[in-house]
Symmetry: C2
Subunit: 507 residues, 2 copies
Amino acid sequence: MVSLPPPSLRDNTADADRLVRALQTQLETDDIHIDFNLLKKLPFQLRNAAYEVKCILYKNRRQWIVIDIKEARDASPLAGLAVDLGTTTVVLRLIDLPSGTVLSESSFHNPQISIGPDILTRVHFAGKTEGLKQLHDLLIAALNDSIRKICSDCGLRPEDIYFLSAAGNTVMTHLFMGLNPGGIIREPYIPVVNRPGLIAAPELGIAVNPQARVLIFPNAGSYFGGDLVAGILYSGLHRRSDTAILVDVGTNAEVVLGNRDWLAACAGAAGPALEGGASRIGMMAGPGVIDHIELEPDEKRFRCQTINALPPRGICGSGLIELAALLFSAGMIDGRGRFVPQNCGTKLTERSGLPYLVIVPANLSATGADLGISQTDLDSLIRSKAAMYAILETISASVGLSLETIDTFYVSGTFGSIIKPEAAVAIGMLPDLPLNRYVSMGNSSIGGATMTLTDPGCLEEIDAIRDRITYLELNVNQEFMTRFSAARFLPHTDLSRFPSVKVRRRG
Amino acid sequence: MVSLPPPSLRDNTADADRLVRALQTQLETDDIHIDFNLLKKLPFQLRNAAYEVKCILYKNRRQWIVIDIKEARDASPLAGLAVDLGTTTVVLRLIDLPSGTVLSESSFHNPQISIGPDILTRVHFAGKTEGLKQLHDLLIAALNDSIRKICSDCGLRPEDIYFLSAAGNTVMTHLFMGLNPGGIIREPYIPVVNRPGLIAAPELGIAVNPQARVLIFPNAGSYFGGDLVAGILYSGLHRRSDTAILVDVGTNAEVVLGNRDWLAACAGAAGPALEGGASRIGMMAGPGVIDHIELEPDEKRFRCQTINALPPRGICGSGLIELAALLFSAGMIDGRGRFVPQNCGTKLTERSGLPYLVIVPANLSATGADLGISQTDLDSLIRSKAAMYAILETISASVGLSLETIDTFYVSGTFGSIIKPEAAVAIGMLPDLPLNRYVSMGNSSIGGATMTLTDPGCLEEIDAIRDRITYLELNVNQEFMTRFSAARFLPHTDLSRFPSVKVRRRG
């Protein structure tokens, strides 16, 4: 809110300069920029508002940018949008900027899945004629659709959105900007840009207020994206005096270990088992998706909890982890993750010639078909959990710490629902530690993106996080491979590491 | 020119960040901005050029902006364009940026003349529906035409122009940007913006390199435009330890008095007598235009020098001043500027019922018609010269100096040719001082605009000039009016002030 002294013959400074002068005093800065577009309507605005206006400003590090100018009494909404640019799922969170409250949240399948479910296929596709444009356009069109919907649900217009904050992995960030990600997957693994900074929404094709700015989270390298930088910001790991660990279970397993002095990071394919698309059962969280699962005391039937309590139509990553833990504890799968027919009973059938365990029979599911899990699904889940555990071991060893000495594990999952640490421990995805050391965070990427919309000081923090990260390359790490092999067993080949996990003998 | 260390597994910084890092070292700054548009082609460029590139940068005060990136061996031209946005005439000067040399100069009639020859008519027109857009479009279309021509004459493409620098009066600057100048002419005389700064060329509709930036000279107020700030920069007045004066004879008579510690400025209508449009004879400099004029010893015929020595088709401002001096000295006009029939002989005819003196007879002119000067032309010239002299007296009196004590008078004329101080003294436009105190500068506005293309340090100087100016308002100055009335006589009602001017008695 700014009050300007009205012009007079003694003070006939120009409109724009009068506004800048008032803002300089109020904000105690000499670095204020007014967009050229705003100048055209400025004289009418100032006079209509009798020199009592409110300015929408964005603090881009040291410079304050005037994004829009309204009458002081104008009560129209002022919204921000946080976006988690997932490979599989894009999550939106609409924020009321003056109060910082969340107005609504929604998500959609990344339509780039039609080009390729995995990042690699998309990167190759981007190298073809018009391929990059097609990938970019698919994403932006779906995002614009989703923005229209979420705004209309909240009684807003897309023009009410003035700031966006987007976090994604390095490839997704590039595709979002229409930049060729080709260098990221080829030695020596070079992104086009690590710190995209602030971009005007129209330059990206995003249909919100034409003056809106988009903050794009920086990536620390080809395999350490802005989503994880956002996760660190959200967890507060970088402000702690004691060492803690952040575990992000998404399409990629990403781990950061550190404190306010240093940050070490590591990422590896946790695999598509945990997210919709590649797996027939693991899918993104959404209405009707199973996010918690239990076995009835007689071990005959599964009791499933679905989002919005709708008939089940699939199972999400966190549900899948719980399911595997249940199956293992009930002896329905063995240590190698293979189905044990005598314990599965009639629930074990076959599909496409492979064993298939029915979780929800056709008559109870939303799809009218049996809902279950195949041997292939289980195999990829075990690869994922092994990768995660091996990463945790490798990164802590690399700084000379053992996992047991770490007091706090922040567990986040970008696929939208909350992981139950006990289930993840039961399958050996996370180490067997007292459960009170685990802090479940949900989607930390969108959490971090949201913070930048409500706290302008975050930008400096983000830079500091990015610059402090040491990235540990796993592709060339032999120890990681050894650890990965040892972890491809439920809960682990070395059972002494998981004293709390009861291993049921066959039969 | 920048050499980047090629990427490797040990140094896999992103392309953009690698470039920024190299530039930071080379330029010793941490504030470098790369335009988002450039990122799309950056990876290909760096690899094609084997990491040896040259960057085109613009230093916008403390921030360096990367405008374009080329291969180091790329020898394509790099041009800048200075523009003097005159009310009547727009002057272009094309510069080879690496060497700073002038490639070509051209000018065109401001097509806004079709709306109104004077600024006031245009400001009123801008207030009508679509009026502002029409004025802006007329100017930009003509500028783009002229840019195409001047480039093609020099074997360049408009895309080779990366920087523009434009100076004009406050209204012209507003019309150039498409901003409504309405506030400038109404009490309390408020422009939309005083310091427009740097604007991307496409935002103004200018068809040059799409990455090009346009520096727009700041104005000190409604009646003190960027053209005069450019003039001060060019004269160096603001760097002198002794006090000097800058006299700018254009559509407006503008005067700045000062030194490196202070600057006092004053402007008043010198009138359209000195520039094409309103006057039937005074026109902009161009081929065939009379810029110097003498009377043959027998006083029977005029000897005219034209630009490019072509048959005469008109007379420009400086020619008009010389002509008036000649006529007065030959007794063909009297002290009130009226024709003296007995001294004019047969050259004096009539046109539209008013006395008209033929300078070039029809058989020698380019137009096939007599070329001359009417009583109306003379009347407006006398008003102009009286205004200029009164301004000079008023401004020096306002700081307690007499004109005689000022050592250096910089005389510039934005209408394109060089004013002869002796002629201006002879009609009492400039004070009767030793001629070596006068320094003729030509068009100082385009001179200043050119400096910003070749010397990045100028931007700070411009700010300093603007902030140091004290503007003296003449509209409310009774002394000025008295002085103006006294000066409406050739050379002056008080002949003792002009001892060097020989006044011929009638008959």
